[in-house]
Symmetry: C2
Subunit: 197 residues, 2 copies
DNA sequence: TCGAATGCGTTTAGATCTAAACGTAGTCTG
DNA sequence: CAGACTACGTTTAGATCTAAACGCATTCGA
């Protein structure tokens, strides 16, 4: 389906050239389209939000394909990685896992159940606190992380080489600022864990 | 693996070991943790990829909640918006819809079926090309876009106010560069376009 | 002209996630 | 000391997506 091998009439086709503006910047074209169709539409966020979603989608799909060949899914690798990064004894409660992976408690429960079924982690009642459950990486889980993490990170680093080192540093800093600010704004009116104990 | 280390744990008390490093920069903490646990791990991409995923997740979840109150889901709004932006007669083939929304043909088919069931769009055999199907926005669909798009975009613009105008412009430019480059690397035969709002 | 190759949209199978309902177990309050 | 409350993890219901298998016209090559 590559547009590459379409010798003849491809360019001669009177396909409606869609009033779309620049193929050079599809994101800007979205904002322009809104302005054209609905003058006054508050398009200021599009230049940032849309590329973020698109990049997340593209990178996520790519990672999924890479991991499929390694016999693991992104959600499970996320779980195992969080535990692996923690260092010995590679243990965290499901609550902590949820906070670190940004998914709901239900999702954590399901992820852990899947990983446990595959022998990648173990579950044990938390000794310390009340009703906590401690999740620990098994040998097999540890080995799986070791054999895939470099692969995934290297692949992603390759995908970013279109930016110079200076641009990457600049982008990192801006994203750091934005993420911390957005997290603060969304966090305030949501969770309200009152200090326990 | 790119989860992130957490937003300030407000329920934490003066207890626990957790030698967690910087609550100031959770993303940098992830890279630091890999370095500590596995010296040599290729962490260079984490500063960019992780915040992108986290921001996409936070913004997506927030949008979903905003739209839930308006009685529509993000996927449907995406579909209707693409058609609305197109301008009269607000029509596109399912193929084009897929390219613009970055989802598979199967997903488009399902989205269109749902929207059609709700009377937001209509489906008609494509007059021009072979087996194409033209999807068109109905009065109700048009009205729904009009009543929700500003709400969503305004909300998102508010979430970005933590960055100055200059920073937003800088970020927009860097994201534009990165997105176009990543898109090119991942194969031009998949996308070309635009998609969210 | 006829069968193979293409292109397109739909359907189906399987996976994952969120939200909400639960089931408990410690913890306040009066 | 009893009942309400709070914190946690699990379960369930419902939604959406990808990947792959299809069903079918249209076009192409011999």
């Amino acid at each position: 389906m590559t547009a590459a091998d379409q010798p003849p009439d491809r360019s001669a086709r009177p396909v409606d050239p869609a009033p779309q503006a620049a193929p050079a910047d599809p994101v800007a074209a979205i904002a322009a389209a809104w302005e054209r169709e609905r003058p006054g539409t508050p398009v200021s966020s599009i230049g940032i939000v849309t590329p973020i979603w698109r990049l997340a989608k593209l990178l996520g799909d790519d990672r999924r394909r890479v991991l499929a060949r390694a016999g693991i899914d992104a959600a499970t690798l996320d779980l195992l990685s969080v535990l692996r990064r923690q260092g010995p004894p590679y243990t965290l409660s499901t609550r902590e896992l949820g906070q670190r992976s940004l998914v709901t408690a239900g999702a954590v429960s399901q992820r852990v159940a899947r990983a446990e079924r595959e022998g990648l982690v173990t579950r044990a009642p938390g000794a310390g606190r009340p009703r906590t459950v401690q999740v620990t990486l098994t040998e097999a889980g540890h080995a799986l992380v070791e054999s895939t993490v470099d692969q995934v990170l290297t692949r992603e680093a390759d995908l970013l080489t279109g930016l110079t080192d200076a641009q990457q540093r600049e982008l990192t800093e801006l994203l750091r600022l934005l993420l911390s600010d957005v997290q603060r704004r969304l966090g305030d009116d949501r969770i309200t864990h009152v200090g326990q104990e």
